[in-house]
């Protein structure tokens, strides 16, 4: 039973990690807390759902959701952040303008869905269960774990082993030096925002499929959790986001299963304070961290 809960928690945590990674990537590179990141998860779920309802096969709907949420994310950068960055006032101003972007996206979604909770048609994803060593695993859970593992691998290869990754880390660490080396920071900003949005979009579809529920406010709890994940893991740290995301998933599942209901968030945030008392920069963080850290 405990093993079953832990496994369920790891799968839920994989989605947290996927979502939080985009959040931490944007923070690491831009020093921007993008409070519209939850709305991108919601937008991904909406795009995926409406695509499926329109008769598009799920795999292609997922691609549409990723590209769509990635494009929205780029749009937010261009419309809400780019001018602020040029003025050098990004840190505080960007928080306000990301709240604005969040409101716009959420109210559009509210209009489109007429404030209803939407559902994927029955068996959009094949309902199949397997048993391993006494554990019950659904095909959906396997698919989630597999796709998240693949994307995390892809992202860390991209960041740590390619020219694009070196450029991203250069801009994160020292934008002025990067420019003098021929890095075009605007192109890097566009790409990090696209990657971050696409991961949030995929997370949105996965969340929508897991709970079979898509609604305009679904991004909010994930944004709060992403804060916890990112702060626990260390701001800007990729490995930290993965470990903290998985840990949070397990903790939350166990708390829901074994403790009186309604205590989950209390426990999660108490743990956050506890960790910060011992390690103020998070589990993997260092002061003045950037995405350069593994």
């Amino acid at each position: 039973m405990l093993a079953q809960q832990i496994m369920n928690g790891l799968v839920a945590g994989a989605v947290y990690a996927l979502f939080a990674l985009g959040f931490t990537l944007v923070f690491g590179v831009h020093r921007i807390l993008n409070l519209a990141h939850g709305a991108l998860l919601m937008a991904g779920a909406f795009i995926g759902l409406y695509a499926v309802l329109a008769g598009i096969p799920l795999w292609f709907a997922i691609i549409l959701a990723m590209v769509g949420a990635g494009t929205l994310s780029v749009l937010i950068d261009v419309l809400a952040f780019r001018r602020l960055r040029a003025s050098g006032q990004a840190e505080f101003g960007a928080i306000i303008s990301s709240i604005g972007a969040n409101l716009v996206l959420v109210s559009i979604a509210q209009r489109i869905s007429e404030t209803k909770v939407l559902r994927f048609p029955f068996a959009t994803f094949p309902v199949v269960f397997y048993r391993f060593w006494g554990l019950r695993v659904s095909l959906l859970q396997l698919a989630i774990a597999g796709s998240v593992a693949f994307l995390l691998g892809l992202l860390s290869w991209l960041i740590f082993h390619t020219s694009l990754g070196r450029q991203v880390r250069a801009v994160a660490g020292n934008p002025r030096a990067a420019v003098l080396l021929g890095v075009n920071p605007d192109a890097i900003y566009l790409r990090t925002f696209f990657l971050s949005g696409a991961m949030a979009g995929l997370a949105g579809v996965l969340v929508g499929l897991s709970f079979n529920s898509v609604h305009f406010m679904m991004g909010e709890p994930y944004l709060l959790r992403a804060f916890v994940v990112v702060i626990l893991g260390g701001l800007g740290s990729i490995a930290g986001a993965v470990v903290a995301g998985m840990g949070l998933g397990v903790l939350q599942t166990l708390a829901t299963a074994y403790l009186p209901s309604g205590l989950t968030d209390t426990i999660i945030f108490s743990l956050l304070f506890l960790v910060l008392m011992v390690r103020p920069n998070g589990l993997f963080g260092v002061a003045n961290t950037g995405v350069g850290r593994r």
């Binding site: 020292n174 003098l180 080396l181 021929g182």
Partner: protein
């Protein structure tokens, strides 16, 4: 001319930082730009690199006007700056810093690879997997120069490469610059250590309060005691001592 600057003016918030700057560097030259702290030396380099936008005047590099060129494009044209304080990427390894330098190549032909940069600065081979932030100041300066070389510059702008370096390391860095110049690299060297800069270059400009106040052969400027004493303070005895040591 590799680089032609005409009547360049730069202002920060309405305050003049540079006025009426005329400067040329021919292909293959090693030219010094010296002057006291705050004279506008770094501002001039940053205007050449496009990081600072001039108020008026023109800059042309290899026959091409740079007035409206974005800084990363200027680097990719082959006009590369090694900025003051090295500005190495501390979270990247030594090799990653060097590989990043290749980005400036664009479509131009490679002139240095990892092997030739390591031959020039052997310490970079020893430390290849180390994070650049863990290198000493002198090693970081070598990394910054090596990184720029990876981008096959036609012209290198160096901002205070001797800053904060021990005299022995400084000599090593200047030797490397002279060797690179002998191989055909055009260099504009900004230095506060005027004696050393004049000793290693053929021609020099003296900048003071945003204007060029002297220009000529480095040897003549070095021989003119008033320039050293008045504009740059006396550093001759130090250099003498250093020469005796090496």
């Amino acid at each position: 001319m590799m680089l032609t600057v005409k009547n360049l003016a730069v202002a920060y918030d309405g305050i003049d930082a540079l006025r009426g700057i005329d400067l040329t560097v021919a292909a293959g030259e090693l030219v010094a730009l010296i002057g006291p702290n705050g004279a506008g030396k770094s501002t001039l380099l940053n205007a050449l690199s496009g990081v600072v936008r001039p108020r008026s005047g023109s800059i042309s590099f290899a026959g091409r006007s740079l007035s409206r060129t974005a800084p990363h494009r200027i680097s990719r044209l082959g006009l590369l700056q090694v900025p003051e304080g090295r500005q190495i990427l501390a979270d990247l390894t030594v090799d990653e810093n060097l590989l990043l330098g290749q980005l400036a190549l664009g479509a131009r032909k490679q002139r240095h690879d990892l092997a030739s940069v390591r031959a020039l600065f052997p310490i970079l081979a020893e430390r290849r997997r180390q994070l650049a932030g863990s290198l000493s100041g002198g090693q970081q300066q070598m990394l910054a120069i090596g990184r720029a070389l990876m981008g096959a510059p036609d012209m290198l702008l160096l901002d205070e490469p001797s800053l904060g370096l021990a005299p022995m390391i400084c000599t090593q860095v200047f030797d490397a610059l002279r060797r690179l110049n002998a191989d055909g690299l055009t260099i504009l060297l900004v230095e506060q250590n005027a004696t050393r800069a004049l000793a290693s270059t053929t021609r020099a400009y003296v900048l003071e309060q945003g204007r060029i106040v002297h220009t000529g052969a480095s040897a003549d400027l070095a021989a003119d005691g008033r320039i050293i004493a008045h504009y740059l303070g006396t550093e001759t005895p130090d250099l003498q001592k250093e020469r005796d040591l090496t």
